[in-house]
């Protein structure tokens, strides 16, 4: 009788612990981890077309850059992002930029201004508006710029690298480590990515209703 009681208690405790840990996970979504496959999405490009991973089924992967017009760190990286696309789109890793900010917080991040920016700077890659912010949330992006290198396996794209473009936003000529290039080069060589996550200062993504 007593044993049954103890077993019952343990069972209740186990259920309690499981439900609390589940709750914690649900409350603080961290987005995709390295190795995880992403959910498909489709967002409006500055040219009006809808674009998503489905448009890149012939590629080896993607370099997804969460970026914005207003953020000085994003601006500081614009030329380097262009250069990434120039170098790697022909090798099967094109750039896709996504603007995740609430434009009511930053006028510069409106769809109209995104179009202006893309044409002024002659972006050679799509610049998509994540109007509902659901893609940024799914990825777990927190700032601009925030980069995800994806590898295609069949019709799925898995996350292989999360983080910074390189180790010096201020001065492109002072860069020592080119994290995104290193990750893509690893993948092109058929190797696992050596440095899978890095961190950098950036402009916090402004979420709606917060």
């Amino acid at each position: 009788m007593r044993n049954t009681y103890i077993v019952g208690l343990i069972a209740i405790l186990a259920v309690l612990i499981a439900s609390t840990s589940h709750q914690t996970r649900a409350q603080s979504p961290k987005g995709y981890s390295v190795g995880e496959a992403i959910a498909s999405f489709s967002l409006k490009n500055v040219d009006g077309r809808m674009i998503g991973p489905a448009n890149y089924q012939g590629q080896k992967g993607l370099i997804v850059v969460f970026s914005s017009n207003h953020c000085p760190f994003s601006k500081a990286y614009e030329d380097r992002v262009q250069e990434l696309n120039r170098r790697y789109s022909s090798q099967g890793f094109p750039v896709v930029a996504i603007m995740p900010n609430d434009p009511s917080a930053y006028e510069e991040d409106s769809y109209e201004q995104m179009k202006t920016r893309a044409s002024e700077k002659n972006f050679s890659y799509p610049y998509l508006l994540d109007e509902s912010q659901s893609v940024a949330k799914a990825f777990g992006a927190s700032r601009t710029p925030h980069v995800y290198v994806l590898k295609r396996s069949g019709d799925r794209f898995t996350v292989e690298y999360i983080g910074a473009i390189d180790d010096n936003p201020q001065d492109a000529s002072g860069v020592q480590r080119r994290y995104v290039e290193e990750a893509v080069n690893n993948l092109l060589a058929g190797r696992p990515v050596a440095v899978t996550t890095t961190k950098a200062i950036g402009c916090a993504i402004k979420w709606k209703n917060m």
């Binding site: 927190s142 010096n168 201020q170 961190k199 950098a200 200062i201 950036g202």
Partner: protein
């Protein structure tokens, strides 16, 4: 006597400063040394930048916090993420305009990946961010968020 008091008040309170405070340009090591020195003080360290709108809107709260007499054992430090090249033309005029008197460091250490985790593992790198730490007791709390004055005051009061 009254006149003297009035003059003193005038001198301290009513005139606006005409020169910016001197901003110390530091590498991460300097910040690390401050955090390692075993002083029984609550440091409230806010990471901000002149170009960061939510940072700018909460900056006055940190100024106010440092002047709040209820919080004697608290030291406020503003750590700017502005680029060092913008110090004279942007950061100093900004501090003058906003009448910021609490110490400001400009952290000129752009290899962010080498030190962000040493502030706190949970920091993704987005700003504003605020660290509350007592280097003696090693008690520490980190916030990647924007504060209202009330929320900031409550956190600091509870921290002690």
């Amino acid at each position: 006597m009254k006149l003297a008091v009035a003059i003193v008040l005038l001198g301290f309170g009513l005139t606006t400063p005409t020169t910016a405070q001197s901003v110390q340009v530091v590498k991460f090591d300097t910040l690390q040394q401050l955090l390692n020195r075993p002083t029984d003080t609550t440091y409230v360290i806010n990471f901000w930048a002149t170009w960061c709108k939510p940072c700018v809107s909460e900056l006055q709260h940190f100024e106010q916090l440092s002047q709040d007499v209820q919080l004697q054992n608290v030291k406020v430090l503003l750590v700017s993420m502005d680029f060092a090249k913008d110090l004279v033309n942007r950061v100093q005029p900004f501090l003058l305009r906003k009448e910021i008197t609490v110490p400001v460091w400009l952290l000129d250490d752009t290899n962010y990946n080498s030190w962000i985790d040493r502030i706190d593992d949970s920091w993704t790198g987005a700003i504003p961010a605020t660290l509350m730490i007592n280097p003696l007791t090693r008690k520490k709390k980190f916030f990647e968020q924007e504060f209202t004055y009330e929320a900031l005051y409550d956190e600091v009061s509870e921290f002690d």
